[in-house]
Structures are given as structure tokens and as C-alpha cells.
Assembly symmetry: C2
DNA sequence: TATTGTTATACTCTATAACTATA
DNA sequence: TATAGTTATAGAGTATAACAATA
């Protein structure tokens, strides 16, 4: 029973938005400082790359500089990240998490993950393994296509 | 090698946004009337349920009535859907696709699917089957959680 | 009085264009 | 002159609160 790529594509096209809405809702529900998905991803990237520049964040997110600047502005305004001029090249900016940013990130990550774990608990062991494998298959092809797009559009 | 639900959740949390960005980018690139993801989903639902009400669309999308009203407004403004007062219950509205809406929907669907098929072509037969199965597993649990949320928040 | 939908308002996400500061 | 970032402006997505029309 071989699967047509068209069927598979259609399936992904329908299921991915369902998953995303779930993630968004859960993050927003975490009031007392809910994070949007882009905000969450920004904090995550900065945590993994402390001292990173705005351009690097923009490339990672797949956004333009102004959009990223605004996003970062908001997070700076809410004291979640520090934005300093780079001492080496003063045109650049060095971004890092504040204590508060780190703890909010951890809370959001834990909360969202916990809720998703609850949903996943309905799955059998086999199904879960299957889903895990599928995600590992999909990640590289979508991660790659992402970079190609950013380059194309410059 | 059993998979922990926590790992699986983390994986989904990282991969789903990658997929979504890809879908969004592709739809937007289809300028000459690009559709956003919510717009696309709205047209899709109306095609499948001609004469549907605003409330039903809102429930399907997981949005509030005002958000949905605005979304529909925009699509009406661009002549993609018809909005008529229901003859039975005049508080209600009956939504259907215009010719133009149908052809734009088909074009968007074809384009986005085609591009995703290209990405999926890198997969082996086994991987594709696996991904298909995973989507079929995930769909009901996220579709259900969606409905539960909407009910809770009313 | 309850239900269906719209309007008003506000915030976030995203883009392009124009600008500033530094290299 | 080229690069890193910001500001100005604008459109779309989303929400809550207040309202209008119909049942």
C-alpha cells in the first residue's frame, strides 16, 4: 500500500495548522506573560546563541530585519532580553536572555510541552514511535527549504 | 526503543513551525492573489460546506466570531465568497464560493501541494508511508482538542 | 431573553521603503 | 560605498467589549 506524495502533502497541509493552533492557544493561555510563537522561538534561539546579532535571529526566524527588530524591541521592553551594542563592530547588536527571559522561556516550554504530552498520552507506544520517526524525517527537509527561501528572497 | 512522550512533544514543537512557515511562504509567493493560511482554510471549509454559517466557519477555524467576520469580510471584498442572509433565519448568513474563489482556491491548493510534493520526493517509500500514518494519528487528537478549547472558553 | 452577526478598539506579526550610524 | 539596525507606514490575524437585528 504505497502512499502517493500528493496524498501525503494534502494530509500535512491539513494537520500542520491544527497542531500550530494548539501550540499558539496553549502559549497564549499561559497568561501571566504569555508568549507568541515567534517570541518563543526568538527566546529559544537567543538562549542557544547568546550574544547573537539581530541579523542572525532574523535569518533563523525567516523574517526581515525590521520585523525582527520590532519583535526584539517588544521583548526588550518586557525585560526578557538584553540588547547591547557590540564592542567589536558598533553597528551590531548583541542579544542575550535576562533572568526573567530565561525563566519565562522555561515556563512556556514546560507548559506547552506538558499540555502536548497530555494529548499524546492517548497514543499507543507504536503510534508514538511512528510520530517521532515522522518528525525526524520531516525536520531536515523543511529546515533546508527554509534556508533556501531566505537566500532566494534577498 | 520506546519513545518518551516528552521527547515526542519537543520534536513536534520544533518541527510544526518549520512546516507552517514553509506553507505560508509558498502561499504568499503565489502572488497574483496570494492567500494567507486562514483565508485558504476558510475557502476550503466553505467549498466543503456550501451555505455554511459564520458560526460554523468560526468553530472550524477555532476563531472568535469577530475575527471570522473580518476574515470573511475581506474575502467578500475580494469577490472570493458570497455572503447572503439566510432566508430561513435572517440572523444567519449563508456563505458560498464564487467562481473566482473556487479557481483561486484550486490554484493555491495545487501550487502549495506541488511544492510540498517536491520536498517530499526526497523521502523513501517507507518514510512517506510513515509520515502519512503519523499525520493520520495526530489529526484526531489535535482536531478534538480544538473543539474542547472552543467550548471551554465560552 | 437568547442567538447571530457586526463594529469599535487594541495588540501582534509581517512587509517595504526610507533613514541613521558605523565600517 | 556597503552593512547593521531602526523608524515610518500599512495590511492581515486575533481578541474583548459593546452593539444591532432577528427569533
Amino acid at each position: 500500500m504505497s502512499v502517493l506524495p500528493e496524498e501525503c502533502a494534502r494530509e500535512i497541509l491539513e494537520v500542520a495548522p491544527l497542531i500550530m493552533r494548539n501550540i499558539r492557544e496553549e502559549m497564549r493561555r499561559h497568561r501571566t506573560e504569555g508568549l507568541s510563537v515567534p517570541q518563543f522561538r526568538t527566546l529559544l534561539f537567543i538562549q542557544r546563541h547568546p550574544g547573537t546579532s539581530l541579523s542572525d535571529v532574523a535569518e533563523h526566524l525567516g523574517l526581515r530585519l525590521p520585523s525582527t527588530s520590532k519583535l526584539v524591541d517588544l521583548l526588550v521592553g518586557r525585560s526578557m532580553i538584553n540588547r547591547l551594542s557590540s564592542s567589536g563592530d558598533r553597528r551590531k547588536v548583541e542579544l542575550s536572555l535576562t533572568e526573567r527571559g530565561l525563566s519565562l522561556l522555561d515556563a512556556a516550554r514546560a507548559g506547552t510541552q506538558k499540555q502536548m504530552v497530555e494529548l499524546l498520552s492517548e497514543l499507543t507506544v507504536d503510534e508514538m514511535e511512528n510520530v517521532m520517526k515522522a518528525m525526524q524525517t520531516l525536520r531536515p527537509i523543511f529546515a533546508l527549504s527554509e534556508r533556501a527561501e531566505v537566500e532566494l528572497s534577498r
